[in-house]
């Protein structure tokens, strides 16, 4: 089955990214919160990264969603597959620290997990998290992700790799 372009949760609406998300996206990647994802980046790099996010949907027919709260973009969540021979990676980020602590990242990521491993029929999602990113490690745990001993990819040195599968949790 094809991947949905909109997913709704009790509090959030996940939709395909739109050009109007660029300012909030750029503010996050230029700010200190992006240090877990090899940031901060320049404005020029943010533009190219965001263009990549949009193009990803065109090429793969799936990609990252923008997380919206009452129509306001507050972060992104969803699968990325940059290299076609690797498992898709489930990613999530809240763009502004003020939104943390409300369970939005977990709610969004769980909804995407349920859709991809459920209706869409996918079997494996990878999750890459830096070991000192406590907030994201907590989300990965709540999602039921299992830590593996897989090596970090060249582009993201030092990260831990988790797997999410359709297998029931032990």
């Amino acid at each position: 089955m094809t991947v949905a372009s909109v997913i709704t949760t009790p509090r959030l609406r996940l939709r395909r990214p739109e050009p109007s998300d660029l300012p909030a996206y750029t503010a996050y990647y230029m700010g200190p919160r992006s240090h877990f994802v090899r940031g901060p980046y320049t404005k020029a790099q943010c533009f190219e990264k965001f263009a990549t996010v949009l193009g990803h949907w065109q090429i793969r027919r799936f990609g990252r969603y923008t997380i919206t709260l009452e129509d306001r973009p507050i972060g992104h969540v969803g699968p990325l597959m940059i290299e076609g021979d690797k498992a898709p990676e489930l990613t999530w980020t809240l763009w502004d620290g003020a939104e943390e602590g409300n369970g939005y990242a977990t709610e969004a990521a769980a909804a995407v997990r349920d859709h991809l491993l459920g209706e869409a029929g996918w079997t494996l999602l990878e999750i890459l998290v830096q070991p000192d990113n406590a907030a994201s490690l907590a989300v990965a745990r709540k999602l039921g992700a299992v830590l593996t001993d897989q090596d970090a990819p060249d582009w993201y040195p030092g990260c831990l790799t988790f797997h999410l599968t359709t297998e029931p949790m032990q």
């Binding site: 190219e48 990264k49 263009a51 193009g55 065109q58 290299e83």
Partner: protein, 201 residues
């Protein structure tokens, strides 16, 4: 903007369409090769895929971008041409890249001429520039054949590139430059035409 909504341009020999997933292989090969040295390459597979996705996403953000150049008859791809303006670019650029084994047929000239005409006539651009590596003689020669001249006053992207300014829409319309370009393109399209020198791009 979905890629299917990107306008299609037709020229004598070529069709310019939005970049699609199935056109990726030649792009990847080109950006893995020495050919891409003036465009930030060579790139590894991860970087190349990111750039290709960005080529498509640029259309969504700006409403214009780079077309994939196809042969009108065989549909084979020859390269890309169009408009490019990431955040670091001072002005909108007319850009082109031709796959290494397709150079020398005038495809970049024909495609970029059509793209410029579209931006001027349909999108109302008053002018455009090309940011070129000063060592990229093929592209500098092409910019000159398109009537562009070096603009030493204009800001460059990062100081390592030279700015070539294209003739404005008003200056290009019905000009001798325009007629010259169309004559050169028609010569390439003519199987009996024997160029005097070797066309670099």
């Amino acid at each position: 903007m979905a890629t299917k909504n990107i306008p299609v341009l037709e020229t004598k020999r070529l069709v310019l369409r939005g970049p699609e997933a199935e056109d990726y292989a030649a792009f990847k090969a080109t950006f893995a090769s020495y050919r891409s040295r003036f465009m930030g390459g060579p790139l590894n597979p991860y970087e190349t895929w990111m750039l290709y996705a960005a080529e498509i996403g640029h259309w969504n953000i700006r409403g214009y971008g780079m077309w994939m150049i196809h042969d009108k008859v065989t549909d084979e791809t020859y390269g890309m041409a169009g408009g490019w303006k990431p955040a670091a670019w001072p002005e909108a650029e007319l850009a082109w890249i031709i796959w290494p084994d397709k150079a020398g047929q005038g495809y970049a000239l024909e495609a970029t001429h059509a793209a410029r005409k579209y931006f001027y006539n349909q999108l109302g651009w008053e002018g455009a520039v090309s940011y070129l590596d000063p060592k990229n003689l093929d592209s500098i020669r092409l910019a000159e054949r398109l009537g562009a001249v070096k603009d030493k006053e204009a800001p460059s992207v990062d100081g390592n590139d030279v700015v070539y300014r294209h003739p404005s829409a008003a200056k290009l319309a019905d000009s001798q430059i325009n007629h010259g370009i169309e004559m050169e393109i028609s010569h390439y399209a003519d199987p009996m035409f024997k160029p005097k020198g070797y066309a670099l791009d």
